[in-house]
Symmetry: C2
């Protein structure tokens, strides 16, 4: 495919202008924050590069859309897609980032960081035994690039790693992979549940009352999408201890509204959607790699199947 | 070697009495807290099992001493050892325990746990980019069973792992292993330094002024022995930022005295010697495995070279 006019839009536009040496490319570039994007820009472009469509977005002459995020729901969830337009996404280091995020919080809990910090504050020498994670069971929802990287790290350290995906297809680093809703027997003794799933019709509100009642003592980490969770059901599971600790990086509404009960629940840790940050350097590198692959008709590893939504 | 009379002494004595089904063994057992151990007990025993010698300890008829700890300095450091007495130590899960301890604190720092917790307390949504540990450099002092397990986990996650040992012998999972004091060129860009070394004449005060001045920004974790550190030099390195954060589990004097400045230094995290806890179950299992190996003249993986001291 040949690309000539590239519109880089939204909050990374100015940073990308610094990062990309546009003169080195035969393509034309326009770099514009979202409010400055005109219909003329959109009609001019055959490639659109951003986290999300602008308010005035339409396909016009576009051949290719590239998402700066790993999640492409802003482009395809509850929206029409023009079927002959290629959609790609930023993957890069997301697997490492998300697995280090998850590991950091699970180890913090197992190693009793809060207990020891509180005792240090009072200069109290009070030994307590940290828990080894070896042999514990983690359920990983999503077995794509990100889920597999999570599985790789946790299995290397010695956890029993079970996967859950829409298809149930077996993948490396998982002891077993179940199709969604066939995994229920595995949940009662799960020590850790990690959601890495994208937001689609099949994953909206996937984690609701029925799911949470099967857990008995798990830590729950959400690095997928907030809308996959039924918040009230999560809060009930927290209140009655079926979830011992929830570590949440994504929410139905972001920023999380001040009034939301999750903010000050004693067993909830909140981070502001940072588990898979796209650094400007990585975003630029991934975009330019993808452009290069497209120009050379190479194999794209980050192409989105629009009908599946990821 | 044939063992007949086993004296299990010290703080694990009563727990071991519960744990070990003495009737199942052809040996005789005595289980005694340290203050109750008499000269008669010591003269009766051909095996002595404890964290440390009692105050009235002597070798008498002992053939074998087994340490409940991984560090055997209470038995051999600045003490005479009777050369034909076998000394073994508890290893078991120490490699996993210490590597999970180290990983938990380094990831806590890289993932900015404190920053996000403080913002959650104020219901503030303030993104900040966690740092990926991939490509960062960790120096691991000690390349024995524990150091190798640390190297394995950190290299799997993608760090550049350099080892330092007394011999400098190459080992798996290390990019390079240096002999002590030949590694100095590697220190200036080290991101993390982990000490796992036992206490011996060669490691006493190994980490002093000269060592610390070579660092520029490292996190320093001590899970070896407190007496390997010159405390004043460590405090100066903390004060001028050559050490960004020190995570200390072991100290020259334990419990750490209330008056020690380390307790409330803002860049020091203190834990009360728990990174390699011996659980009663593991200690019993390791001791009984060792007994079994000795009785069958098998190969001992946990035999201490008393002249080296580890």
């Amino acid at each position: 495919m040949e690309i000539q006019n590239i519109l880089i839009a939204g909050k990374l536009a100015n940073a990308m202008k610094e990062q990309i040496n546009a003169d080195a490319y035969r393509q034309e570039f326009r770099f514009k924050p979202a409010p400055e994007v005109t219909v003329d820009d959109l009609q001019w472009a055959d490639a659109y590069v951003s986290f999300e469509p602008t308010a005035n977005f339409d396909f016009y002459n576009l051949k290719w859309v590239h998402s700066f995020g790993a999640g492409v729901n802003p482009y395809v969830y509850n929206r029409e897609w023009k079927q002959d337009v290629l959609l790609t996404r930023t993957v890069c280091s997301f697997g490492s980032r998300i697995s280090q995020y998850c590991l950091s919080y699970y180890l913090k809990d197992m190693q009793e960081h809060d207990y020891f910090r509180a005792h240090q504050n009072e200069k109290k020498w009070q030994p307590k035994e940290p828990q080894l994670i070896n042999g514990q069971k983690v359920m990983v929802y999503g077995t794509g690039e990100i889920g597999q990287e999570v599985a790789k790290i946790f299995s290397t350290i010695g956890m029993d790693v079970v996967g859950v995906s829409l298809s149930g297809k077996q993948k490396d680093y998982f002891r077993d992979v179940y199709a969604v809703s066939t995994e229920t027997e595995e949940l009662h003794d799960a020590d850790l549940v990690i959601n890495t799933l994208p937001l689609t019709d099949s994953t909206e509100q996937l984690f609701g009352e029925e799911f949470f009642t099967r857990l008995t003592h798990a830590v729950f980490i959400n690095v997928g999408r907030g809308s996959s969770i039924v918040d009230d059901a999560l809060l009930r599971a927290l209140d009655d201890g079926r979830i011992r600790l929830a570590v949440l990086d994504v929410f139905r509404e972001e920023p999380l509204p001040k009034g939301n009960r999750l903010w000050n629940h004693e067993n909830v840790l909140i981070t502001p959607h940072i588990s898979a940050v796209t650094t400007v350097e990585e975003a630029a590198e991934c975009f330019l790699d993808t452009l290069n692959t497209i120009e050379n008709n190479g194999v794209l590893h980050n192409k989105v199947d629009v009908t599946r939504g990821y």
